[in-house]
């Protein structure tokens, strides 16, 4: 009998110690500095957390601009995140960074699943800006990026123009990523308006040049009359272009893709790729960091306490727009 009471009491104590997750998180007041100078406080630290931190596109655009911003403002900037595309690892890194109370957090919006950890950062009073893709359901203070649906739409409209609205089209990217699926949707919504266009396949190139080239070779074997191919990740374009060049069909098969790394620009110059849908990635992180800075320094105070007033004193949603790079303007980007 005594054992029964001990077990019951233990279970009740355990239940008393049980805490269910909150249904909504409340934002805490932001940590602000009273200085309103254009130069930051030396102990301020702004942290960028991304995934695939070593990806050349991120290094050359996002991270380079973020570092330049840190030097200009004379504040410390740190870049953290897993080397590979690993969203749970990015979430773990953000969780660990929150515990170190950085001045501001700049987060790459890689997947809607990071909404909870963004809310945790906001609830901890850390100014938090999301860039690249927006995170619905998050309480982020601001977002800067491009609409991936528009990237798909731009590619769709261009490939229709290049092929005269008829022929076989294939497309590839990383399957399963939210922003890329939105891009695919944008492309397909344009193509479905043209009955003479036949979409012959959607392929996963795993963000790998060799894989993109292998898939393209297979497409060329299965469909020698393919009219155009669209790419959606940074490595799609170089891979598609490689296979098309090797098949001796450069210029005959129309290629549109994303990003504007030096190799992409060179392929446009050579006439292998006809159009690049580029993002203004430098603007994401430069202005994202500046938004954090302005929130911390209350550069434009709109209320006595922004959090209590339920507002942010920086733009809530910024679409930085797209770059359309073709043979006509490619030199401008090569020689920048």
């Amino acid at each position: 009998m005594l054992r029964f009471y001990i077990i019951c009491t233990s279970l009740l104590l355990l239940l008393a110690g049980c805490e269910l997750p909150p249904k909504n998180q409340i934002s805490a007041g932001l940590t602000t500095h009273k200085t309103n100078d254009s130069v930051g406080v030396a102990n301020e630290e702004y942290v960028m957390v991304t995934t695939a931190v070593t990806m050349p596109m991120y290094v050359n655009h996002d991270q380079a601009a973020f570092k330049r911003w840190g030097e200009a403002r004379k504040v410390k900037v740190s870049i953290l995140g897993p080397a590979d595309w690993d969203v749970p690892a990015q979430i773990n890194t953000i969780e660990e960074v929150i515990g170190t109370k950085p001045t501001g957090l700049l987060i790459n919006g890689t997947d809607p699943a990071i909404a909870q950890v963004i809310n945790k950062a906001v609830a901890a009073g850390i100014p938090t800006v999301v860039y690249d893709s927006d995170i619905p359901g998050s309480n982020r203070h601001a977002f800067l990026g491009t609409d991936w649906y528009e990237i798909g739409k731009m590619q769709g409209e261009e490939i229709v123009k290049l092929t005269g609205g008829k022929g076989k089209i294939a497309y590839m990217g990383i399957l399963g990523l939210v922003n890329m699926e939105q891009g695919f949707e944008g492309l397909l919504n344009v193509l479905k308006k043209y009955p003479e266009i036949e979409v012959v396949g959607k392929y996963d190139d795993k963000a790998n040049v060799e894989e993109a080239a292998r898939i393209t070779s297979d497409i060329l074997s299965a469909h020698p009359d393919i009219a155009g191919i669209c790419g959606f990740d940074s490595n799609s374009g170089p891979g598609i272009a490689l296979a098309v060049k090797e098949a001796g069909k450069a210029g005959k098969i129309k290629i549109t893709t994303v990003d504007w790394e030096p190799e992409h620009l060179q392929l446009v110059k050579e006439g292998v790729i006809q159009m690049l849908a580029g993002q203004k990635r430098e603007l994401f992180t430069w202005y994202g960091a500046q938004f954090l800075y302005d929130m911390v320094h209350r550069t434009n105070p709109l209320a006595q306490n922004d959090a209590e007033a339920g507002i942010t004193s920086v733009p809530y949603n910024i679409n930085t727009g797209l770059l359309k790079i073709t043979s006509e303007n490619v030199d401008q980007f090569i020689n920048r």
């Binding site: 110690g17 080397a83 749970p88 773990n92 170190t100 997947d111 699943a113 909870q116 399957l175 399963g176």
Partner: protein
């Protein structure tokens, strides 16, 4: 005492962990030695540890499973798919999800144990098949999961988030099983000398199949926990998990040839890797350097362990 430390990876790794934690506490007194940070370290490694327990069992028996990361993703996505698109109640969706993991483990185990297919080839092939299935089921991922499903991974008990408790329960349960029960202790015999184990009457094939099923079920459980913690099921979950887990398990005392290793070693190996990652985040070590430093530390740790064991055999 010194003999024990030199003899067992569990002891030497524990001492290394304590030393690393003490040094880091001195260097970063305001950010490292806090309850929140330690909870976060344990939470971040909980999924890896649960998978590592299954992998340790397999490595003790002389096999390994490369499909665990894909099984994790598939189970999480399948469970989420059933709840989100078909309105299945949480317990039923969980049961079907785990049943899916069971079936994958059974297929792996049957083909490897009874059809003599090489474990690396079989589980590598299964890794691709199951990842494809996860992509088919979830597309770009499934959000807005039921509150009570999210509560599995987001609730707290005594201030500590539930995945940590599940991890401790799994480690405790399998530590008991592998150290106190005849059935599980036979895995050491199988891993040391499979033919001798077979001749002595142990049902080697059946036991190997059971080990693959347990490994897949634990990966499935981790998939459910991770989806529940994130509040979303992503087809990209668990990418690269297999290598991370095998590294942790080998660091924890297992060998690729089988017959060695203890379940607490799997936990300590994962804890060591989690601790190193955490220290690098707190020290703001750039992402470029993290992989290099982690690799160098792993090599140094294993070399130190071999050196200590050599010294031990010289003393002994």
């Amino acid at each position: 005492m010194i003999h024990k430390i030199l003899e067992s990876r569990v002891y030497s790794l524990s001492i290394l962990l304590v030393l690393a934690a003490l040094i880091t506490s001195v260097i970063f007194p305001s950010t490292f030695p806090t309850f929140e940070n330690f909870s976060q370290i344990l939470l971040n490694l909980s999924v890896d540890t649960i998978v590592a327990v299954g992998m340790m069992l397999l490595l003790i028996s002389g096999a390994f499973d490369l499909s665990v990361g894909s099984v994790l993703a598939f189970t999480g996505c399948l469970t989420a798919y059933l709840m989100h698109f078909f309105g299945f109640p949480v317990p039923l969706a969980l049961t079907i999800g785990l049943l899916g993991a069971f079936m994958i483990g059974w297929v792996n185990g049957y083909l490897i144990a009874y059809q003599n297919i090489n474990p690396m080839i079989q589980t590598l092939a299964m890794m691709g098949i199951v990842r494809g299935c996860a992509l088919m089921v979830s597309g770009s991922g499934i959000q807005n999961l039921p509150y009570w499903f999210n509560a599995i991974g987001q609730s707290k008990l005594l201030g500590i988030q539930m995945p940590i408790w599940y991890m401790l329960a799994t480690v405790g349960c399998f530590t008991f099983l592998t150290s106190k029960t005849i059935f599980f202790r036979r895995y050491y015999y199988i891993g040391s000398n499979e033919r001798a184990a077979d001749l002595s009457g142990i049902q080697v094939k059946k036991m190997k199949m059971v080990a693959f099923i347990i490994s897949a079920m634990l990966a499935g459980l981790s998939g459910i926990l991770l989806s529940s913690r994130l509040g979303a099921a992503l087809p990209t979950m668990g990418r690269g998990l297999e290598l991370r887990v095998i590294t942790a398990v080998i660091l924890g005392g297992a060998t690729l040839t089988g017959g060695y290793g203890k379940i607490p070693g799997a936990f300590l190996g994962a804890l060591f890797m989690g601790l190193v990652s955490n220290i690098m985040v707190i020290a703001r070590v750039s992402g470029y350097w993290q992989e290099i430093i982690l690799g160098l530390i792993l090599i140094a740790t294993l070399w130190l362990d071999k050196y200590l064991q050599k010294k031990y055999s010289e003393i002994g």
